[in-house]
């Protein structure tokens, strides 16, 4: 059981690093992220504007919190909710045939490959779900 717990902690750290990295890329360029969010045609401009600042901050804070055992499950729940939002947004854009830039990792991705992006978010969500439901102990 101790071995499994260590694997789970290591997995939480990997996910934490991933969310910090993704959040930091977006954090520096809110203008590019806003353009990406706008391309989904889901939010009015000013809500998209606020989201372009709040989303990276949420990813960074959630990613850092995954490193601390006392905050891990709450952070996993928060980031899992984010992943569900991402998946729903991608499904919506895919259904409407939009040619979007995902915005998932700053401006690094120019075109959306919907099955790959949704699959990646599902994997992330599954990983976070494992942390959320599991018995991940200290550290």
């Amino acid at each position: 059981m101790a071995g499994a717990s260590k694997v789970a902690v290591a997995w939480a750290w990997v996910l934490g690093a991933l969310f910090i990295y993704a959040g930091a890329l977006k954090f520096w360029r809110p203008d590019l992220l806003l353009a990406d969010i706008e391309s989904y045609h889901l939010l009015p401009y000013r809500l998209a504007y606020l989201w372009s600042y709040f989303l990276p901050a949420l990813e960074i804070v959630g990613g850092v919190a995954l490193y601390h055992h006392a905050w891990r499950k709450v952070a996993a729940g928060l980031l899992l909710a984010l992943c569900v939002i991402f998946i729903l947004a991608l499904l919506s854009a895919w259904a409407r045939g939009l040619d979007i830039s995902c915005g998932c990792f700053g401006g690094a991705e120019t075109k959306a490959n919907y099955p790959v992006l949704i699959g990646r978010d599902l994997l992330l969500a599954a990983g976070l779900g494992w942390i959320l439901r599991g018995r991940v102990q200290a550290p």
Binding site: D31, Y49, Y53, P56, L58, W71, G77, L78, T110
Partner: protein, 146 residues
């Protein structure tokens, strides 16, 4: 005895959200790449449609949309240049450009990113100085024609 775990989790969740708001606010205050809150304000490197039309044919117009959309309709005289076929299309652009000539890049709408990406590459990789993106893009152009 009633467990306090849900209450603690709720407080921690509120803490994470508050911390995120603080971080987001600091970023909104300090980040130099701050987008315009007011849509009527031009972002850095943007040109308004009326100003772009006044420049007219003296500018080099670049259509950054996908090839199929370019073929379906474009601003008169615009050359296609997008990141899918950059190497194949850039030569024709360079032939038409001369130092001092303004370049106006557009994509499908205010929300698209392609014109910004192409404009950035023209500045950084080709050394062009007066490169602008058309505010509102092709949608704004079409709306003006109606």
């Amino acid at each position: 005895m009633i467990s306090s775990a849900p209450r603690v989790a709720g407080l921690r969740l509120a803490g994470l959200l508050c911390l995120s708001v603080v971080l987001a606010s600091a970023n909104a205050w300090l980040n130099p790449h701050r987008p315009a809150w007011n849509l009527d304000v031009l972002a850095e490197g943007e040109i308004a449609l009326t100003d772009a039309m006044a420049v007219g044919d003296t500018a080099l117009w670049i259509d950054a949309r996908p090839e199929t959309q370019y073929r379906a309709g474009r601003i008169g005289g615009a050359l296609p240049l997008n990141e899918d076929d950059w190497n194949g299309q850039i030569q024709r652009v360079l032939e038409q450009w001369r130092p001092g000539r303004r370049v106006i890049v557009y994509c499908s709408s205010q929300q698209c990113q392609a014109s910004h990406d192409v404009a950035r590459r023209l500045r950084e990789e080709m050394g062009m100085e007066e490169v602008y993106t058309l505010k509102g893009g092709w949608e704004a152009w079409l709306a003006h024609q109606k």
